[in-house]
Amino acid sequence: MIVVENLYKSFESAEVLKGISTTFEKGKTNLIIGQSGSGKTVFLKCLLGLFPYESGSISYNGKIYNDLSQSEQRKLRSKIGMVFQGGALFDSMTIGENVKFPLRMFSKKNNSEMEDRVHAVLKRVKLEDAYKKFPSEASGGMQKRVAIARAIVNNPSFLFCDEPNSGLDPKTAIVIDNLIQEITSEFNITTVINSHDMNSVMEIGQKIVFLKDGHKAWEGSNENIFKTDNEAVTNFVYSSELFRKVRRMYNEGL
C-alpha cells in the first residue's frame, strides 16, 4: 500500500502538485487520470523518487520514503517495477537480456536460475519465442509486454506504469490492460497506472484518482465514475459522444 499525504511539488515558481493526499491499495489497479498538464507524470515521478518534493510525505507499506536511509531507499527501489511510456528497453541488449537485467543487478541467483526465471516471465507475457530478438525488432505491443516482464521479473511489491497503452491499437491496449490487472491480483502487488485512456479507466480502474491543475479533484472506482456529478470528472470522462451514450445507457440500466 502507498499512502500519499499533502504532497506539494514546484518547478521554480510554477506549483505543479498542490497538496495531494490519497491511498493506493495493495492488490488493486490504481489509476491516476487527468488532462495533459494536470500533473500526472510529475506525481508519478515523485512516487518513484525521481523528483524530490517540497513538502508532504509518501509512505510505502508504512515506511515514509524520505525518512529512510540511502541504502534503505535503494533496497525499497529494488522492490519497484516500472513500465515506462516508451518501454525504456535497453537498445544494446536482447529482449531476454533486458528482462534478465534486474536479476543480474540485484539477485543472488546463479545463471541457470536466472534463465529459468526469465523464460517463466516471458512465457507469462506470451513472449517465450522473443528471447533473442532486439527491442528494435519488436512491435510496440511486444515492447510494452517486455517492459512489463522486466518490471515483474524481480517479484516487485509495487508496479508503476506510465501511459502503458499509448501508441497501441485498441485491441492490443486491452491485452496490456488485462495483463497488468492479472499480474496485480496474481502477485498481490500495488499497481499505480498513469493514464488518460478512458478504455483503461472503464476496464481496470479499481481505484481512480482524478487530477486537475495539480489538485486531486475526485477519487473513486470505475463503478461509481458513472454515477458521479463532479463536473471536472464528467467534463473529462464524457468528452466524447460515445462515452456520454454509454453513461446514459448505464444509468437507464440497459
Partner: protein
Amino acid sequence: MFIKPTKWTVMRGLILRDIDDLVIGSFGIVAFISFFVGGVVTIQTALNINNPLIPQYLVGFATRQSVILEFAPTFISIIMAGKVGSFITSSIGTMRVTEQIDALEVMGINSINYLVFPKTIALLLYPFLISIAMFLGVLGGMAACYYGGFTSVSDYIWGVQLDFIPFHLVYAFVKTFVFAFLLATIPSYHGYFMKGGALEVGKASTTAFVWTSVAIILSNYIITQLILS
C-alpha cells in the same frame, strides 16, 4: 560516481564492451590517419629543406619529434573527440531521451557509475592506441621516403634515432592520460545532463565535441608549460 558501484560481474562486461567500442573500434581510423599524416609531415619537411648544408637525416628527426610530441597525442585526441566523444554523448543522450536512464534510477542503480565509470576505465587503454599512432606515423614517413624518394630510408632511420630523449615519451603519455580522462568525462556529462529530444541529442554531441577539443587544447598548453619548460 563511486557511491553504490555496479556489481563487478556486470561492470566487467560493460568495461569490455566499452574497450571494444571506444578503443578497438577506433583502431582503423587512427591507423589510417597516422600513417598518411606521418607521410605528409615527412614530405613537407623534405621539400622545405633547400639548404645543402642541412643533413637529409633531419627529415626523420623532424617527423619523429612532430609525431611523438604533438601529432599522435594531441591531433589524434581532437579526432577522437569527434569520433568517440560524439558516440558517448549521443549514446548516453539517447538513453536520457528514451527514459533508459530513468529506468536505471528507478531500479536503484547508480546510473553515473553504470554509464560513465566503464568508459573512463576503458579509455585507460587509450595510450595503447596513441602508441600505435606514433609507430604508424613514423612508419608512414619512412614509406613516403621510400616511395617518394625524398631521402634515403637509411638516412630517415638514422634521423629517427638521432638524439632520442625518452622523457619526451613520458611527456606524451602524461598528456595522453589527461586527454583520455577528458574524452570520457566531458562527452558523458553533455549526454547525461541533456534535456529535450532527438534534435537536442545532435546539439549535445556537437557541444561535447567543441568543449572536449577546447579542453584538450588548453590542457595541452598547460601540461607542456609544466613539463617541458
